[in-house]
Symmetry: C2
Subunit: 205 residues, 2 copies
DNA sequence: TAGGCAATCCCCTAAAAACAGGATTTTTAA
DNA sequence: TTAAAAATCCTGTTTTTAGGGGATTGCCTA
């Protein structure tokens, strides 16, 4: 039984890279690629791969959302998250949304084959490099902020004051102030400057 | 006459991707790859490609520095910068350090061939996508800040208050305040939050 | 050698953010 | 369905920034 492989990624070189690494592998069948979420979904309407490599960042829709969608519609498809960044928040979200694995875009052929084997057995594959980072991230702790907190954070970084944010979000200034306090606490910083720098580093803004 | 191609990139898939796109192209000779600056330099001691694709981010040394080094030692090699990010500061630095071109990692085969042709004619190749971004970046204009202002900016982003910065720099708090005011004016923002976000975007901090 | 710029310092006021310590109501997820 | 989490609101006080004015020194260069 051959394992059917499909990939959705907007980077042509990654598609070619993975294809080049896997195409002639025994037991694998290369079904092709899509370069955005829409064409990926269109493809899945007609054909079903066993393994779907999915870029976390797609042009039309985030891979994180697409992952949830695909898993809901076709639960049998095993999804492997694909990203240049070893970023805990992405990995966490992909796995939460049903991905069975996560590999970086600098993975070797050996790693890819290992990933495919592992997830076809129903297990979860996380490359060692990523795993190490998860532990670090858990320790350092990328703050888990809520939707509303993120909204506020973005508006703060836009240069708005509490009262301006309050007007924009139709809430009281004290509410905004509370969100702000929580953000400072979650990021463990003592003022806005440090908050914004960390948010930028974590790529939240 | 065949054009000899070499690549230095730590992402295996990018290497394979480019190889897959170019390897069987008439007139091109694929020399191989290096995955870090050191092995790239070691390779160049023995062989000389005509075109060298160079990742901006390498594990042991930044591609920006490597570019300068390679150009100094082997001026005849044409370097094409390679990056996932359409970031003006990188592009600018690569070109300043002698690169002849800059392409993104989602380039198509056509684009790569165009890039190679263009730079072999001695011209500079910048993909349209990147070019558009350069113009935007130039218009927005990274503010010209002084040494001292940058010092203050970094300390602000560390979360220090004016008085803490004053102690650290052995100056009065009013001095720090003045620098801060000048920073706000130069970045054309009205508070610290927006200042830090811009500084992060411009990669000043 | 004069003008420009960087770096330093000062005063004052108003606005904003940080700190403290609450409370209530919705949502969400186990 | 129920407990936890998120979102909302409040009253205070203190600290820090922002905005408005200045001024002096020293260095570089046109």
């Amino acid at each position: 039984m051959t394992i059917k492989i499909f990939i959705v990624d907007d980077h042509y070189m990654i598609i070619e890279g993975i294809r080049s690494l896997l195409q002639h592998e025994a037991g694998l069948e290369w079904m092709g690629h899509a370069m955005n979420a829409d064409s990926c979904l269109a493809f899945l309407e007609k054909q079903r791969p066993d393994v779907l490599f999915m870029d976390v960042n797609l042009p039309d829709q985030s891979g994180i959302e697409l992952c949830l969608l695909v898993k809901k519609m076709y639960p049998k498809i095993h999804i492997i998250g694909l990203s240049s960044f070893n970023q805990y928040s992405f990995i966490q979200k992909m796995l939460h949304n049903g991905a069975s694995g996560y590999v970086l875009k600098n993975a070797t052929k050996k790693e890819l084959l290992e990933a495919i084997d592992t997830i076809m057995e129903g297990k979860t594959y996380i490359s060692k490099e990523v795993e190490a980072n998860i532990n670090i991230s858990k320790n350092i702790g990328t703050p888990l902020i809520t939707r509303r907190e993120k909204e506020v954070l973005v508006l703060i970084s836009d240069g708005l004051t509490n009262s301006e944010i309050a007007v924009k979000l139709f809430v009281s200034t004290t509410t905004v102030d509370t969100h702000r306090k929580n953000l400072l606490a979650k990021f463990d910083v003592k003022n806005t400057a440090a908050l914004i720098r960390m948010a930028a580093q974590y790529q939240i803004i």
